[in-house]
Amino acid sequence: MNKMIDVIVIGSGIAGVTAAKAAADEQVSVEIITKGAGATMMGSGALDILGAVPGEEKNTTVNDIKEGMELLLDKNPRHPYAVLKDSLENGIKALREVCRAGGMEFTGDGVTNAVIPNILGTFKNTAYIPSYNKYADAAKAAGKILVAGFRGHTEFYPEYACRSYNTYQRQFAPDADAVYIATTLELPSLADRERITNAELAAFFDTREGMEELAAALDDMKNIMGGIQGILIPPVLGYRKYAQNMELLYETLGIPVGEIAAGGHSVSAQRLAAALEKGLENKGLEAVNQAKAVEIRKTEEDVFCIVYEQQGKTKEAYARSVVLAAGGFIGGGITSYREDLFIPVINEPLGRITPEMVNKKAFPGGGQLFGKVGIRVYDDMAVAQGCFSGQIFACGDLIEGYDWVYERSGSGVAAASGYLAGKNAANMAKGSEH
């Protein structure tokens, strides 16, 4: 007989990690079963709580999170935040604790959104920013700011970005008063490169030579321009040594150097994924990696058996209580067969995608209806439909009724629902022991 675990969490994204931490804090045994990369790898690495409230015509940008939350719940009283807003603080706290153990610090108070210039030339308003973004907050920016790109780097064009930053900064941060100046750097070691990606730059800046060349090039530029009060560069300051690198640049140049916010599938997202994994390890939370959960069933002894595939073998794990944090469409938590949507691991149908749910405009006002697809849950995050109704818990992108793409609420809902699901699963496991 395999060993019995109190709580098994399926998924190791933001929801899964928070759920595991919350359950472990209740003094029960916890194990994560994870296939590895998921939606976390596709994000920007920041923790959003609420960035915008979708409107019929236009989305409302959120600066004060509490005000935004009221507006959101006023428009959509059945939004998960109606239940989850009280767990938000605890959820974020648990999540940040794991991140810190993995070497990643966040700044932010959860009250006001920071405004970070992003790689697309607009601004990203988000609640908790990783330390490498802290010198990039446009709300606090003033004076001449140098925005440096790299020759051949196809993902960021400083000239266009600066034009846009200068024009739109006040729309996002009313007090902003900065002049963004673009420059393109040419580093000696990369002189023969016509095209270079985020990944290659980040790997280069993880080496000492890379940082020496960058520091020298930035220093030159700073002296030529004169009067520069801060520098922004794209988010490529290394996969591993980003925190050290930033401090090193501050020290050598005497002015803060920040990274602008990333778009999707970025170096920063991979940093967050790595920090979560390392944080789990350092917190003593066990994870079965490269394991894809394929089925959950209830045994005769009234415990859950989780069947998973790992390295080509089928294995089983037993738990008193289960948290599903497998993600949505991205991540593999929800999948579709033709128009039918379902959650593969519990074989639970979620209805059909109809033409009405898909707006042909990519980013229509009010959001895409299919983005809100998910499983129904009770207020304690127990699943509220299907054969496991009331028996297992769900969190994160799996739950229905919110659209993180539009609201920029993904991390907040994931952390809050993960916290609640983890805690309640732990309590259920404790109760079933007798």
């Binding site: 990369a37 095209r195 991979q270």
Partner: protein, 349 residues
């Protein structure tokens, strides 16, 4: 090996996020602008109709599975590459330079060099050396030393063919059966019951294509057993070493014995680079696939060697002789020695 339906069904999910390309050691070693066609790999995956468009890329792939473990939506990228290689073989569109190497493997020759002839023997414990093991006399001597100390008789298998791994992964699926038969005959000649291999790729092949009448052990597992049973005795006398995890042991199988042996013999955890365990990085040769594009393989090997040298240990231990062979050159330039786990254990006796 996956068939077209599997690949078709699973590659529909590709979201073109390019995380696979970020991780691919071949792309990273060559540079994005020097390997521009790589973007076509996932285009081909997405469209599923132009698989032959990426023939060259498919043969540049060294099957390290870094792409697959980075994929958020589980597209079987490496298996697709292997599938394309098989398709190329069937349609005779294999790139120049590939055929001659594959021919060698099909003829039962060593693809890495010419090994010296080993004496034929009979014993219950038989060692399948694999391509790199046949050339690695230090490893053979180390194994001999261990067996003498343990008082067990063994034999090295002679006149063996490809284990099946290289033939399979380079697209020669019909050659496997013949190779397996040749090897099983060698097992029979030696009257073997337990087949031990120091090569992680051969170990993977044994797990997949061979009859279950024999027990297959990786060298590290065998040595670990000897120590546990007290047949050989070693104190905590070794210096701590850096460890390069062979991806066939840690990514595709769950063999942790080399790390455990290092912990046992040095009293300290092995020093490992950032990418290790199930996320370990390739040595460049990929069980022979790297031979098709040697410059690319050398660049990948150089990249891994740099990571290992940065750890600051004078010695790197690896669980696989093939990985040792692949990394040796790049590490020598950095004045770092690489030894197989067999040699590490032999040194402790």
């Amino acid at each position: 090996m996956k068939d077209f339906n599997d690949i078709y069904y699973n590659s529909v999910e590709c979201v073109r996020c390019s995380l696979c390309l970020d991780r691919c050691p071949a792309v990273r070693a060559a540079g994005t602008d020097k390997a521009p066609m790589y973007s076509s790999v996932y285009s081909a995956l997405g469209s599923r109709f132009d698989l032959e468009m990426v023939t060259e890329e498919a043969f540049q792939c060294i099957d390290c599975y870094e792409c697959e473990s980075a994929c958020p939506v589980n597209v079987p990228i490496a298996d697709t590459m292997a599938y394309i290689r098989r398709l190329c073989k069937e349609k005779n569109t294999v790139p120049d330079g590939v055929e001659s190497i594959v021919q060698k493997a099909e003829n039962g020759e060593n693809i890495l060099g010419t090994p010296s002839k080993l004496p034929e023997g009979k014993a219950e414990i038989a060692v399948f050396l694999g391509y790199a093991g046949e050339l690695d006399e230090e490893m053979q001597r180390a194994f001999d030393k261990i067996c003498r100390a343990a008082g067990i008789s063994y034999t090295f298998l002679t006149d063996t063919a490809d284990s099946g791994y290289f033939l399979d992964r380079s697209g020669q699926s019909e050659g496997i059966q013949k190779a397996v038969e040749t090897n099983v005959k060698a097992f029979e000649r030696a009257q073997a019951k337990v087949i031990v291999t120091p090569c992680s790729y051969s170990f993977e092949a044994f797990r997949n294509y061979y009859p279950e009448t024999y027990t297959y052990l990786h060298m590290s597992e065998f040595l670990s057993e000897l120590l546990t049973e007290g047949k050989i005795k070693a104190a905590e006398c070794m210096k701590p070493a850096a460890y390069h995890a062979a991806h066939m042991l840690t990514r595709k199988n769950d063999v942790k014995a080399p790390e455990e042996l290092i912990l046992w013999l040095s009293g300290q955890k092995a020093v490992q680079p950032e990418r290790t365990g199930y996320r370990t990085s390739s040595s460049g040769l990929g069980g022979g696939l790297g031979l098709f594009y040697p410059e690319l393989a050398a660049a990948v090997s150089e990249r891994r060697a740099r990571e290992l040298a940065e750890l600051g240990c004078g010695t790197v231990v690896t669980g696989c002789v093939f990985e040792k062979y692949a990394l040796k050159e790049a590490l020598r330039e950095k004045e770092v020695e690489i030894i197989d786990i067999t040699e590490y254990v032999a040194q402790a006796l």
